[in-house]
Each structure stands twice: as structure tokens, then as C-alpha cells.
């Protein structure tokens, strides 16, 4: 299992090598991995259908109680099969779609890594591991959306997606930690049966809100839906995979996963139902108002995510069944539609429905399968999408007090989606042939394979829904937390309300499509505040952030050395003085007993040197004075028998003088730039700092820390570290990690100096 989950990451590392080896067939080669994984996961089916959930343990960081435990039940297995199954076709498709692109190996690499992260996410039983995989999907999706990184909108969209999902991810982390703390375990399979105990906790509400913040951002619920359509800047294989079948469903997965814990809580039900329904409506209306093929599909995905959230929120067994059926149907037809849209774009050079038309003769196969998938999107019998829509209406009917409201919203959405499906399926293929940037031609086999199989899958499951029934039942059981009776999935349920709604939606949808040109603008105007308001809020926030950063850089990092030193000194003085005064810590006794004559002389020497260095107008003079100060200090080290320090001090002084001499000749002549007031201020700060440090040293001398550390070092230096020079033993053995850090800092400083001088040198000539 561990191998299965991590294989994607490992293979991703070898993609660049492989792509050199097998050349244009790279897509096919890589697709072997998800195909093999699909078979592997399919092997779990018999067990899971029987109701035997499996937990597979791997210790990871046992000291922190974090493990890589995997939970295989109906829900996670269904997701795993979708991820690997669709992943197979996506890799084949991507290999053909980006054939000859210079960065194709990068895209395939990211796709594989993303697939592995997604698998880890749906299979993890440990909350921490789940969160790690969750963040990995965000990061890989950032790389994927920003694949065309030379393209400004792509970069912007990638950043937007990242900030929104990772921001939500932070909330999710807090939520999951709370969940683990309340429940007393970080293992999902232990937490899930403890729903009642969890809901009784006073922290339950906070936990729920935080978790929802994570899932809503990830699954693009209103008001966070704006990042998803923008993410369409990614190459089509990415959109097809991440934004239809998998990543955005991670949020839905987590909500479904936690449903047993949350079930019955009114706030949970209400939030999910209402936000889900709202998202559904916004997505539906925006889909029909768009003209770009990929945006239409993206908004219809927002619609689907809203529907799923709403259904999980309603939470009746019927609604949960509807959610799972809808999820499966959506993954099939949306994957197919995205790939087909990419194929259209690839073959014609445009994906605006205004510019496409009459392609049915030139791309007959694409036209056929797009029609099939679009019928499923619209919910027309005998496709699987129809069953999903029927069940959705039925679930809305059972929603209790809210059912009236939900039905109206579902109806409106269904009408819009029917029209959107018609837009996608009819506009590009019927009517007059329109001139396009490229001469249209049928796409290569590798690009048609994916959407053909997925669209046919939708048809097959519609005709024989019993095929998917065992898996769906296992998934519903996993969400509901209790066994369910065999499901009745059929195209024909007799004459009932859902059928009436479906029929009405179809008729109204077709009518809306016919008058699309007239309705598009007013509809878009109606929904605009909801659709674009949140995005504007996001942009405002980003602008404010940039302004804040700009302001603080101007104030704190203005490039003047004097300002930096002044800031550091004043802060230190403030903090030190506050601590010393508030703790009443000034304890010192001055006694001049035992002071030798030469010590006094050296001290006086230092004093003279300091005064001269700060008063003189000669640069060389002040350098020499500071040098004298350093050598006097070295003498003091010698007096107190610290030869290592003395040697170091002498050497450093020497080198400092060398460095100063090298720099000195380049400086302009001495000038008075500061006003007397500034000089007095600086003198005051410097004086205060000196006085404070003196007091501090005196105080420190008085208080004893017991000498524990230095005694330990003296005693163990030779015994444990085989060295008599304690200073050096400390440097290279006892505190070697500190030294390691310091030499890295030194190296960084040298690189910095080198870079700075080189930059200057390049600018000047």
C-alpha cells in the first residue's frame, strides 16, 4: 500500500530521464503506473463490497504519534479508483496534447506527483498525514496551474489558487488538530464512531468552522469559488484532471469523510446545504453566461461541487447516495468534456464558442463523444447523469423545511446547465463552418481515447447502473456510518415528481439556449455581485498586503546603515532597560581592589583610542585608533589568560585593517552631512548603550548561574572529547552545530559581498 501511494512521487523523479529515453511515447509509458494502481485498487473491491474495511499501518514518526496509516473503505476506494482510472487517460492525453513542448516532462512530473498526493489524501487514516498530502495537492496544483509561467495570467491564477487553498489549509490544520484533541485520537477509523462524544464537546463548533474553511476553499464553494475558473489558465490535461475529477473534490471527500462525526449537527447541515445550494446556483448561471469553452466547464464544475456539498449537507441516506452517484457521473462526463474541449482548442486554435461552428463533418468522433458527455451533463436519459439528476431532485424533496427553497434553486441550476451543455455540444459542431486560427482536423488517437472511454462509461453505467451499485453502496455505507440496503438504481422510476422536474428543466434549458444571445447579458448582470464580488475582495486584500509590505520596507529597511544601527540599538536599550528596571535587577558592587597598574594603563589607552576615533576628521586616523583599541583588547585577553581569544582578536584586527584599506581609497572625501542635532542624538544613544551594557556586565558578574555548564565543559573536555584546549573543543565538538551554523553564515556573507561588488562593477561600465 505504501508503495502504491508513494510510487507516483518516485516515478516523478525519473520522468526527465525517461522522457529522453522513450521520446514521444512518454505519455503512454507513464500511464502504465496509474493503470497498474487501478488494477491494484480494484483488487480490494470484493473485500470492501463485503463490508470489510481495511486499515494498513506504517509507523512514520512514532515519537509524535504520526503514522502513515491507510484506511480503505468504500469512500476512499471509490476516490482511489477515480484518481488512478482517470489519471491513466489524462497521462496518455497529456503526452499527446503537449507533444514536442519543451517542458512536457515537467508537466508529466507534476501530474504524477499530484496523483500520488491525491491518493495519499484519500487513503490516509491519520489526520496529520492527511493534512500533509492535502498541502501537497495544493503545491503541485500551484505548479500545474502556473505551468505556462511565462504567461502573466497563468502566474496570477496559480498564486491565487495557492493563496486561497493554502489559506484554507491553515484553518484546516487547526481544525484537524482540534478534532484530534477532542476525539483523543488522530486516527480516522477510531474517530469516526465517536460522533456523539465529539459533538458534546464545547470546542466542536470551532473545529467545524475551521474544517469547513479548509474544505470550502479547496472545493471552491461560494464565496471562494473565484479561483477555480481562473485556474483554467492551466493546460487542458491539468484542468481535466485537477479541476474536474480530483483535486477540487478533495474538499468534498473530506466533508463526506467527516459526515459520520458531524451528522445530525444543525449548524453543519444548514451551512452545507445553503452554501452548497448557493454555489450550485452561482456556478450554473455563470456557466451559461460564459463563452469560453473551458470557463463554461469550470463554472459547471463549481455547480457540481455545490451540488455535492448540498447533498452531503442534507445527509439522508437518499441524499448521500445521490452525492456518490453524482460524483461518479460528474467525474466521467466532466473529464470527458474537458479533454474534448482541449482537443477542440488543439485542433482549431480557439475555445470561444462564438468562433466555433460546423465542425461536425471535420471532427466527427469528437462531435459524437462531446454530444454524449454533454447529454450526461444535461441529465438526459439514458445516461448516468440522468440518474444522478433524478436522485438529486429526490434528495432535495426530502430536505425537510428547506426543501422548497432547495428545489427552486436546483430547478434554476438545472435549466442553466442544460443550456450550458447545449452550448458546449451544439455551438461548435452545428451550423456554418467558421474560420479558425488553425485548420480543423480530427485529433490523434491518444487525444481521443480518454474522452471516448469516459463518455462511453457514462452511457454504459446509465444503461446498466447495477455495475456500479456495489461500490456506490460501500461508499454510502462509509459516509453514513451504518449498513445500507441494496440500492435501486434505475433509469425508470415511474411517473413521479423528480421526472417532472427533469423534464421541465430540459424544456426550459433548450428554450434558454435558443435565446441565449438575448439572455446572456442580463443574466450575467444579475449574478455579477455574487460571482465577482469575492474576487474583488481578494484583489483588494492583496493590494493592501503589498502596500503594507511597501510601507514597512520604506520605514524599516531604507538602506541607510546608520538607521539600521540606530533602530537596533534603540530597541536593545529599550528592552534591556525595561527588563533591568522592572525586575529591579541592578545589583553590583564596585571595588578596585587587586587592579594592577598595567591594566589601568591599557584601559586608559582604550579610552583615548575610542575618543579619538569618534572625534577625528581623518579616516586613516580613526581606522588606526580602532585598530589600537582592538590590540589593547587583545592585551586584556592575554592578562586574563585567554590566548585563543587574544590570537583571534589580533588576527581579526589585522584583517579588518586590510579590508578597510581596500575600501578606504574608494570613499569620497570627508564631509559633514549630519546636522549637530543628529550628532547629539547619536552620541546620546551610543552613550546610553555603553552605560547600559556596563551596568549589565556588572550585574551579570554578581549573579552566579552555579557554574554548572563551565564546570561540565572543563571536566569533560579531555575525558569525553580528547582535547585539552577547551575553547576549541567547544567549537568543534560540544557546540559543533553552532559552529556549523556560523560558518554557513560566514559563507553567505562572503557570497553577499561578492555579489554586491560584482553587481556594482557590472552597472558602472
Amino acid at each position: 500500500m505504501l508503495v502504491a501511494v508513494l510510487a507516483g512521487f518516485v516515478l516523478a523523479c525519473f520522468v526527465p530521464r525517461l522522457s529522453l529515453l522513450v521520446g514521444p511515447h512518454i505519455g503512454w509509458c507513464l500511464a502504465l503506473l496509474p493503470a497498474a494502481l487501478f488494477t491494484y485498487f480494484a483488487g480490494f473491491l470484493p473485500e470492501i463490497v463485503q463490508g470489510h474495511n481495511q486499515v494498513i499501518d506504517y509507523p512514520w514518526i512514532p515519537s509524535l504519534g504520526i503514522s502513515l496509516n491507510f484506511l480503505v473503505d468504500g469512500l476512499s476506494l471509490m476516490f482511489a479508483l477515480l484518481i488512478t482510472g482517470i489519471g491513466t487517460f489524462i497521462l496518455i492525453y497529456a503526452g499527446a496534447y503537449l507533444k514536442g513542448h519543451k517542458d512536457i516532462h515537467k508537466l508529466l512530473m507534476y501530474l504524477l506527483a499530484f496523483m500520488a498526493a491525491m491518493l495519499g489524501l484519500v487513503l490516509s487514516s491519520n489526520l496529520i498525514a492527511l493534512f500533509v498530502f492535502w498541502e501537497l495537492t495544493s503545491i503541485t496544483s500551484y505548479l500545474l496551474i502556473g505551468f505556462n509561467h511565462e504567461h502573466d495570467p497563468a502566474r496570477k491564477a496559480a498564486l491565487q489558487g495557492l493563496l486561497v487553498t493554502v489559506g484554507g489549509g491553515l484553518a484546516l490544520m487547526a481544525g484537524l488538530l482540534l478534532l484530534g484533541v477532542i476525539g483523543g485520537s488522530f486516527e480516522l477509523h477510531e474517530l469516526l464512531p465517536r460522533g456523539d462524544a465529539l459533538q458534546a464537546s464545547p470546542l466542536f463548533m470551532a473545529m467545524m468552522v475551521l474544517v469547513l474553511a479548509g474544505t470550502f476553499t479547496k472545493s471552491a464553494q461560494t464565496p471562494f469559488h473565484f479561483w477555480l475558473p481562473n485556474a483554467m489558465a492551466a493546460p487542458t490535461p491539468v484542468s481535466a484532471y485537477l479541476h474536474s475529477a480530483t483535486m477540487v473534490k478533495a474538499g468534498v471527500y473530506l466533508m463526506a469523510r467527516l459526515q459520520p462525526v458531524m451528522a445530525g449537527n444543525e449548524a453543519w447541515t444548514l451551512t452545507l446545504t445553503l452554501i452548497g445550494a448557493l454555489t450550485m446556483l452561482v456556478g450554473g448561471v455563470m456557466a451559461v453566461c460564459s463563452t469560453d469553452l473551458k470557463r463554461i466547464l469550470a463554472f459547471s464544475t463549481v455547480m457540481a461541487l455545490g451540488t455535492l456539498t448540498m447533498l452531503i449537507g442534507i445527509g439522508t441516506p437518499g441524499a448521500l447516495l445521490a452525492a456518490m452517484v453524482f460524483l461518479l457521473a460528474h467525474a466521467l462526463y466532466k473529464g470527458a468534456l474537458f479533454m474534448a474541449a482541449g482537443t477542440l482548442d488543439h485542433s482549431t486554435g480557439t475555445k470561444d464558442v462564438h468562433d466555433l461552428g460546423g465542425l461536425r463533418g471535420l471532427m466527427p468522433q469528437t462531435a459524437f463523444f462531446v454530444g454524449l458527455a454533454a447529454l450526461a451533463l444535461a441529465g438526459v436519459p439514458p445516461l448516468f447523469g440522468f440518474i444522478a439528476k433524478e436522485l438529486m431532485f429526490e434528495a432535495a424533496l426530502q430536505a425537510g423545511a428547506l426543501s422548497g427553497l432547495l428545489l427552486v434553486m436546483a430547478m434554476l441550476t438545472a435549466v442553466c446547465i442544460v443550456a450550458a451543455a447545449a452550448l458546449v455540444a451544439i455551438k461548435p459542431f452545428m451550423g456554418e463552418l467558421k474560420p479558425t486560427p488553425k485548420t480543423p482536423h480530427e485529433a490523434p488517437f491518444a487525444m481521443r481515447l480518454g474522452f471516448s472511454v469516459l463518455a462511453l462509461g457514462g452511457l454504459l453505467l446509465g444503461l446498466v447502473p447495477g455495475l456500479a451499485e456495489p461500490l456506490l453502496r460501500a461508499a454510502v455505507r462509509a459516509i453514513g456510518g451504518h449498513p445500507v440496503a441494496p440500492l435501486e438504481l434505475a433509469l425508470w422510476h415511474g411517473f413521479n415528481l423528480p421526472l417532472l422536474f427533469s423534464g421541465l428543466a430540459l424544456v426550459a434549458g433548450v428554450w434558454l439556449y435558443r435565446d441565449w444571445d438575448r439572455w446572456r447579458e442580463p443574466l450575467a448582470g444579475l449574478i455579477r455581485p455574487l460571482a465577482y464580488g469575492p474576487e474583488r475582495g481578494y484583489e483588494r486584500m492583496m493590494e493592501a498586503l503589498v502596500r503594507l509590505a511597501d510601507w514597512q520596507t520604506r520605514v524599516l529597511q531604507n538602506g541607510y546603515m546608520t538607521h539600521y544601527i540606530l533602530t537596533i540599538l534603540v530597541t536593545t536599550i529599550g528592552l534591556l532597560a525595561y527588563t533591568l528596571v522592572s525586575r529591579d535587577a541592578f545589583i553590583y558592587s564596585l571595588s578596585f581592589e587587586g587592579v594592577r597598574f598595567y591594566e589601568v594603563v591599557v584601559s586608559l589607552l582604550m579610552l583615548v583610542a575610542v575618543v579619538y576615533a569618534s572625534a577625528t576628521h581623518l579616516r586613516l586616523g580613526s581606522v588606526a585608533a580602532i585598530g589600537a583599541l582592538g590590540f589593547a583588547m587583545a592585551l586584556i585577553y592575554v592578562f586574563f589568560s585567554a590566548p585563543d581569544l587574544a590570537i583571534t582578536q589580533v588576527l581579526v584586527e589585522t584583517l579588518t585593517v586590510i579590508l578597510l584599506v581596500l575600501v578606504l581609497f574608494r570613499l569620497p572625501g570627508f564631509q559633514d552631512l549630519s546636522s549637530p542635532w543628529i550628532r547629539w542624538r547619536d552620541a546620546l544613544v551610543a552613550g546610553a548603550f555603553g552605560v547600559l551594557i556596563t551596568l549589565l556586565v556588572l550585574t551579570v558578574n554578581q549573579s552566579s548561574l552555579g557554574g554548572g555548564i563551565s564546570r561540565f565543559l572543563v571536566e569533560n573536555s579531555y575525558v569525553a572529547a580528547h582535547g585539552r584546549n577547551i575553547v576549541n573543543v567547544i567549537l568543534v565538538d560540544f557546540r559543533a552545530l553552532d559552529t556549523l551554523g556560523e560558518i554557513f553564515v560566514l559563507a553567505l556573507a562572503a557570497i553577499g559581498v561578492n555579489a554586491m561588488i560584482r553587481l556594482r562593477a557590472e552597472e558602472q561600465p
Binding site: 586590510i658 574608494r666 580528547h722 567549537l731 565538538d733 559543533a736 560558518i743 557570497i751 561578492n754 561588488i757
Partner: protein
């Protein structure tokens, strides 16, 4: 800094640089028991190079060093890091745990080798690399 500096300085430098470098190695090796160590030894070695730079010019100092100063710096960092890994890889001990080996050389006596020594050599190389990088780039800017 230029070839027209005094003949006395140049001649003295020719004798002093090898002596200083030898002295720096001496300081490096004795550091564990007597005053010395990688940091001090590195400073001495780099002052030797600085002296050479003053007597001649940046180009000939670079030639004297043989390799890029940044390379010395990087090698030192790698050596220090690697010395910390030895204990990890051999005995599964924490990073930077010191390892000791005692060799008996016929005619000379016992020789103790250790990872702290490797670490110290790493520090030595880093210090040489850092100081000469800075000094050389400043001198280059001068020209």
C-alpha cells in the same frame, strides 16, 4: 595591489607566504590541545594571501591559490557537514557525534584521528574561502 609596490615587500612576501601557510597548518593541527584551531589557522592563512595580494596583484594571488576561493568555501562547508554525518551513518548516532580512531604508526607513535578534526579542517577552509573571497572581490573592484 600593483606590480609597482616595493621590491623589499615583494621579496619578503615570497619568503613569508610559505612560512605563514605552514604556520597556519601547525596552528590547525595543534588546536585541539594547545591554543590554535581551524578559525585562527584560517585567519593566518588568509592573511598570508592578503599579504601576497598587497605585494603583487589580485591575478597572481588567484593564481597562487590555484582554485576559486568560493570553491574552497564550499568544500569546507561540505567537509564540515560530512564530518557530522559519519556518526549518523556508521552508528546511527545523532548528527555531529564525534568519532575517534587510534592508529599506531611504527616509529612515530600513536595518532588519534577524529571527525572533530575533519570539522576543524572544514572551518579552516571556510574561513580561508570567506576572507579571500571578500578581499579578492574588493581588490578586483579597485581595479
Amino acid at each position: 595591489m600593483s606590480t609597482d609596490s616595493s621590491l623589499i615587500l615583494q621579496t619578503a612576501t615570497r619568503f613569508l607566504v610559505p612560512l605563514l601557510l605552514l604556520f597556519s597548518v601547525f596552528l590547525l593541527l595543534r588546536g585541539h590541545n594547545e591554543p590554535g584551531g581551524g578559525f585562527i589557522a584560517g585567519l593566518v592563512a588568509s592573511s598570508a594571501f592578503a599579504l601576497h595580494l598587497f605585494a603583487f596583484d589580485a591575478g597572481s594571488t588567484r593564481k597562487l591559490m590555484g582554485v576559486e576561493s568560493q570553491l574552497i568555501m564550499g568544500m569546507g562547508l561540505l567537509l564540515a557537514l560530512a564530518s557530522g554525518m559519519v556518526g549518523m551513518l556508521l552508528h546511527g548516532q545523532p548528527f555531529l557525534s564525534s568519532q575517534w580512531w587510534s592508529l599506531t604508526l611504527p616509529g612515530i607513535g600513536d595518532l588519534d584521528l577524529s571527525t572533530p578534526l575533519l570539522f576543524d579542517i572544514g572551518v579552516y577552509l571556510v574561513v580561508i574561502g570567506v576572507v579571500s573571497t571578500i578581499v579578492l572581490s574588493l581588490a578586483k573592484a579597485e581595479e
